[in-house]
């Protein structure tokens, strides 16, 4: 007993057992889930795609570090991996031909304005990636247009074509879309790979599966309505799900914790509205791919969804306390 008093114990608050999951492990799993799409993108576009992705991740991490320094917060070099994910998701929405300054501007905007300006990871009211994306997409539409790469590829942008020539002219099967044989964001276009990754993170419990399910359901349902009304002018539900960045939006963008609801019913409402907006923007809006904008809109709606009352324990029963 006597000399045992010298031991320095670590004191902590309960619970002393933890599920073992950390922000970092979540990030690593998410990066793993994004890897197949990244690999396919490099196979499709070669080094330029790798360049965009690496640059976006690097710029995102450096921006976070710089902001932390300016804020006087604890210095990290993006160890938790969240800013790298933001950067990579942004790269997934860019064409492989995007010039370096656009990539850097977008990544810096995503992390700097989209996230750090609100206080850091998890405090942003709108998906940080999309803030950066919107910044460059609206300011510099030309270098952001995947069609600029048209000359170097046989791929076609299904959404641009749909907008310009109608559903019949697209000529891409769902399988083509699923296998990434479409022109679009370099990673977002790899619908099949994104779907695989998405299922992985949903199964791991990293994102709540209800949101992507509702999002895709909303897309399919709304697209079906238009399609049944006029099959010549509108594309079918599978086209809208697999074409463009719907899949990426459903699994990776709409599920960002800080800007989505956490209870089951609000999650379904949130996702369904988002999915519907994708098709509505694609049909009536002035931008061909509505998915990123749809996500930004529902992000703003998330606090409303959370207002839906839940009945706490025993409440229906009159509540004892």
């Amino acid at each position: 007993m006597s000399d045992k008093k010298q031991v320095l114990l670590a004191v902590s608050a309960p619970p002393f057992w933890h599920c073992g999951r950390t922000i970092r492990s979540f990030s690593l799993h998410t990066l793993l889930a994004l890897a197949p799409a990244a690999v396919l993108a490099v196979m499709q576009w070669g080094i330029p795609a790798a360049r965009v992705m690496a640059l976006a991740m690097l710029a995102a991490v450096l921006t976070e570090t710089a902001c932390r320094r300016a804020m006087g917060a604890k210095m990290t070099w993006g160890e938790d991996g969240t800013s790298a994910i933001t950067g990579l998701l942004l790269a997934f929405l860019l064409p492989a031909s995007a010039p370096w300054w656009i990539v850097v501007l977008g990544a810096a905007g995503a992390v700097g304005i989209g996230r750090m300006a609100f206080g850091g990871y998890g405090a942003n009211p709108v998906c940080a990636t999309l803030v950066g994306w919107a910044l460059i997409y609206v300011s510099y539409p030309l270098p952001m247009d995947a069609s600029a790469t048209l000359l170097s590829t046989d791929l076609i942008d299904p959404l641009a074509k749909l907008r310009a020539f109608g559903a019949d002219a697209v000529g891409l099967s769902s399988l083509d879309l699923l296998l990434g044989r479409q022109l679009g964001g370099l990673g977002a276009a790899q619908s099949g790979a994104i779907l695989l990754g998405g299922i992985y993170i949903a199964a791991r419990g990293i994102v709540h599966w209800q949101i992507p399910a509702a999002f895709l359901l909303g897309t399919a349902a709304t697209a079906s309505v238009f399609w049944i009304a006029d099959p010549a002018a509108h594309a079918g539900p599978l086209f809208h799900i697999f074409g463009g960045s719907t899949m990426l939006a459903a699994f990776f963008l709409a599920t960002e914790g800080s800007c989505s609801p956490h209870r089951v019913i609000p999650m379904w409402i949130f996702g369904l509205i988002g999915g519907a907006l994708v098709v509505i923007i694609r049909t009536f809006g002035s931008y061909p791919d509505g998915a990123p904008f749809a996500v930004m809109l529902i992000n703003l709606l998330a606090p409303m969804c959370s207002v839906i009352p839940t009945f706490p324990f025993g409440y229906r029963n009159g509540g004892r306390r």
């Binding site: 002393f16 933890h18 029963n317």
Partner: protein, 416 residues
């Protein structure tokens, strides 16, 4: 169950261990530290007083709190506002009157006492009667291990079950509950001779079903039904032990755990944890964490000279690095995991923030009082925030606030 979707199914949530070894009597401690907060010292108890097992040291003014007895032969080495310290001694070295002192057994079962008189007798024998004496229509005896890692409930239902049988007889005589139900893990084989005449409810032994409120929900299907209450089997077992032996309660059953190993011990009230670890041959190194209670809700100890007191359910050692460290400064990242898992459907995410930023007024609106202290919110928090601790802080602060509100201002005495 909800958590199956949420977290990767954690086998540690199981509350049964196929543990049937009888409890081991822990070696006699060399030092004791007894908690005396709120107690009134018995006449003649002061520094240097010699004590013997079962000697009354202090009484508690509340009917709900058992009195305090010495659990060893020894000498009181110090008394401060919070604790009584005793150095144990060989009876041969003590005065004759102390050495030969005998505590007369008091047979509660044969005494014929009933109702409040019985409660008082039980309290005098050192058993806490707060839960035992609850007035309700149905009292559920919670026969599940209170939390994962704690493993004494199964032996109490088989090898050590005579105590429970005796306690049930006493509970019937106390007569404050209209009906008694014993809740046991599914698949338990009950010795009907010991548990004669009590209703048995079988419950899935999966945390957090062992939390009283949730247990009652499992049994009735209703959340917080009127007239239902619960008492832990630990408390009931202590009552039974006193009933069978007739001597004051001087020991408590705890699980001592380290890593995946655990064993149940009967430990004397006030045993210093350092002694306990030494006797069990467990080495503690810098950076390790020890805690009293269970791994979900227990209380971290800062020094090895803290003690195990009556009602403690376990004592655990965790090697440094076994879990990611809790990070008090970590901001909530709004992942929603805690919201999703909270069995009472309150919002630990916001509640923890309200407490973090001292907005206790907001906690009130967020049903803070419904928290059943299960600790699942902290268990799933990937930012490693002390979520449960924040909520406990809010509860404590608001209770204080309420207590102050209840105070009646004293009228100044008029001078005229």
């Amino acid at each position: 169950m909800k958590q199956r979707h949420q977290i990767l199914n954690d086998p540690r949530f199981r509350l049964v261990y196929d543990e049937h070894r009888p409890f081991t009597e822990a070696p006699a401690p060399r030092h004791l530290r007894l908690n005396r907060e709120g107690f009134t010292l018995a006449p003649g108890v002061k520094k240097k007083t010699q004590v013997y097992p079962g000697m009354l040291l202090a009484t508690h003014p509340s009917m709900e709190k058992g009195d305090l007895h010495s659990s060893v032969y020894g000498v009181i080495s110090d008394i401060n506002v919070r604790s009584i310290f005793i150095d144990s001694a060989d009876p041969a070295d003590l005065d004759g009157s102390v050495r030969d002192a005998v505590v007369e057994p008091f047979d509660l079962l044969a005494s014929g006492l009933e109702g409040d008189a019985l409660i008082e007798a039980v309290k005098k024998l050192g058993v806490n009667t707060k839960s035992i004496g609850k007035k309700c229509d149905v009292l559920v005896i919670n026969g599940l291990n209170p939390e994962p890692g704690v493993a004494w409930a199964e032996p109490m239902l088989d090898g050590h079950c005579p105590e429970i049988g005796a306690a049930i007889k006493l509970l019937c005589r106390i007569g404050r509950a209209g009906r008694l139900i014993l809740a046991v893990p599914e698949g338990t084989v009950i010795d009907s001779r010991e548990f004669d005449g009590i209703e048995i409810a079988y419950v899935e032994p999966e945390y957090p079903n062992s939390i009283g409120e949730l247990l009652i929900k499992r049994i009735t299907g209703i959340e917080l039904p009127e007239g239902w209450d619960y008492v832990g089997i630990h408390n009931v077992w202590s009552l039974g032990r006193v009933a069978l032996r007739g001597l004051p309660l001087m020991r408590t059953v705890i699980t001592i755990g380290r890593g995946a190993q655990h064993e149940n011990f009967i430990v004397r009230n006030g045993t210093i944890v350092g002694d306990l670890l030494e006797d069990a041959g467990i080495e503690v190194e810098n950076g390790d964490t020890i805690f009293r209670g269970g791994p979900r809700r227990g209380e971290g100890l800062d020094r090895l000279d803290r003690s195990i007191t009556k009602g403690a359910i376990g004592f655990f050692l965790m090697k440094a690095g076994e879990v990611p460290p809790m990070d008090g400064d970590s901001p909530c990242i709004n992942c929603g995991a805690c919201v999703h898992i909270c069995p009472t459907r309150i919002d630990p995410r916001m509640l923890s923030r309200y407490a973090e930023f001292a907005r206790f007024d907001m906690s009130r609106k967020a049903y803070f009082g419904l928290c059943v202290d299960c600790g699942l919110c902290g268990y799933v928090c990937i930012a490693r925030r002390p979520v449960l601790q924040y909520i406990r802080l809010a509860i404590a602060k608001l209770e204080q606030e309420d207590a102050i509100k209840r105070l009646v201002p004293i009228e100044p005495i008029g001078r005229n």
